[in-house]
Symmetry: C2
Subunit: 141 residues, 2 copies
């Protein structure tokens, strides 16, 4: 058996990428989400990624987004029945949809507070996932 250092080996899955092999397409999709954190739809991502990968297909963009979500690198955000949007912010946060401009803003949780303090959860409920979506208007101050 050869020493471990000389054996050819695939790049190990880092904790960062959640064990997902970072192909060119997946990396570009992920980079695009982190470059412009405006909660783009799959089609938005598709149009943007074409600049660097002109031959990428929409199906691949959907595949990449699905994998990034499954591996916990990206969050999928749904407002009403609109197209899903994608967000690389992994901190616990909600979303505010400004009906005036159509933009979506991240909403942090105040430190030291717990959502469960505000809610009357059913007996025995163990929360695995929290989704908070707000809609309204953003007025100039």
């Amino acid at each position: 058996m050869l020493p471990a250092t000389t054996r050819k080996r695939r790049k190990p899955a880092s904790p960062e990428d959640g064990g997902l092999r970072m192909t060119r397409q997946r990396q570009e999709v992920y980079d695009i989400l982190r470059a412009h954190r405006d909660h783009p739809t799959a089609t938005d991502v598709f149009l943007r990624v074409k600049d660097s990968l002109p031959n990428i297909s929409l199906a691949t963009v959907y595949n990449c987004l699905e994998l990034l979500v499954e591996h916990g690198l990206v969050r999928q955000v749904n407002f009403e029945r609109e197209s899903s949007r994608f967000c690389p912010n992994l901190e616990q946060h909600g979303h505010f949809h400004d009906r005036g401009t159509g933009t979506i803003h991240d909403v942090k949780f105040k430190p030291g507070t717990d959502l469960a303090d505000v809610l009357e959860l059913p007996q025995g409920a163990v929360i695995q996932d929290i989704e908070i979506n707000l809609r309204g208007l953003l007025h100039q101050t």
Copy 2:
């Protein structure tokens, strides 16, 4: 001009029904939502309403649900990208989806608490609508 009491007049829109004319179909759809508050989908409602209105169409169920939502009698509840569900509970509340059984439970807000206390809202944000969706498991106690 005849006295008001003798003139034939349509049933006035009550504050309860939000100005919506309550046709047979709308009434049955609404009654079904209030009878079983299990957050049924449009198809669920369709199947149930057929007992009393065997000729109703799915399109009509969708129309009725849309109108009931627009007029504020019913809330539309979306989890992920699943079919919309419908809820006649008009109190401010969130939803807990038990992944074990697939059931959806209403989650009241604790009296005297304010969600805004837990969130760092963007400057100038005026909230018109709040959606809180929780997912997890309900353990027997």
